[in-house]
Amino acid sequence: MCNTEQQWIAAAKTGDKDAFAKLVEKYQRPVYSVCYRMLGTPTAAEDAAQEAFIRAYQALDQYDISRSFATWVLSIASNYSIDQLRKKKVTILSMDNEKHAWLAPPDPGPSPEKAALQREKLGQIQSLLTDLNEVDRAAIILQYWHDYSYEEIADTLDLSSSAVKSRLFRARRLMAEKWQKMQLPSTAPVNSTAKRIAHETSTI
């Protein structure tokens, strides 16, 4: 943690909202990313990420400055997302347009082919994650996208390291089995989707 960040945290602890806004600015991407991977839609991710920051702000006096702020705030975001999934308030499978809305920026974005491939990838990822239970999903997300060690995952999700290992083992097996099943029927549609979109755009 850099000195500047420590100053922001210290100021935020005294109620300085501008200082906390800087922390939000710095950590919005990893927090949003965890929430998106957990919940599967931009709307749910935005809401959960904001809620995580609100909770962090309200609990700042309990934050131990010797601990990484990133780990702490990601822990809040992960646990909030787990709770949301448990309450089944979030519909994982939403309409495709809404699900990947963030992939279509108004400025010059990716080419149609690239966008189609990205959507295909995201669809496959969400499909793999959907079958995992909430805690296993959080562990996988923290390991693959945030490069967390077993100990860091254990700390974030309040589990033992051995529990994290066994959860990751189970989750990876489930994903591998699903991936093997997905490969057989999905090869043709993946290519046909890309080809169809390329064809449609070339005829406009």
Binding site: K17, F20, A21, V24, E25, Q28, R29, Y32, S33, Y36, R37, P42, A45, E46, A49, Q50, F53, I54, Y57, Q58, W102, L103, Q118, K121, L122, Q124, I125, L128, Y144, W145, K165, L168, F169, R172, R173, M175, A176, E177, W179, Q180
Partner: protein, 121 residues
């Protein structure tokens, strides 16, 4: 070594030394089940690592801070000062009732009676 041990190496992504790596490669050539598992885990890892990173839409931090302001405003306690006591509550209606009740009891302001008079008019 037993088949299960190779599966554990593959599924936990255990860091292997040279000898273990060679041993695993030999096993993969003989065991189609492990080979398929190995390929699947590597393809999934590649898919995850090469996928675009989801980003919040522009203005996230502003929207977030606005929400924090709203939450803070909603939670801000309401104070009613008396000479000797301070009434505070996150529920303004309850705080006002307590304050009015106490004012009536001490007789400094007969707010409750005044209220009754008003309604009995």
């Amino acid at each position: 070594m037993k088949h299960q041990q190779y599966e554990t190496w593959i599924l936990l992504g255990t860091e292997l030394d040279l000898e273990q790596h060679r041993e695993l490669q030999v096993h993969l050539k003989q065991c189609s089940q492990c080979q398929s598992l190995y390929q699947a885990t590597h393809q999934i890892a590649h898919l995850f690592k090469t996928s675009p990173v989801p980003e919040p839409s522009p203005g996230f931090s502003t929207r977030c801070m606005t929400r924090i302001e709203k939450v803070e405003t909603r939670k801000k306690p309401v104070y009613f000062r008396n000479n000797s006591q301070c009434y505070f509550s996150s529920n303004p209606a309850a705080a006002l009732k307590r304050w009015l009740t106490n004012q009536g009891r001490h007789g400094t302001i007969s707010a409750i009676n005044a209220g009754n008079d008003y309604f009995s008019r």
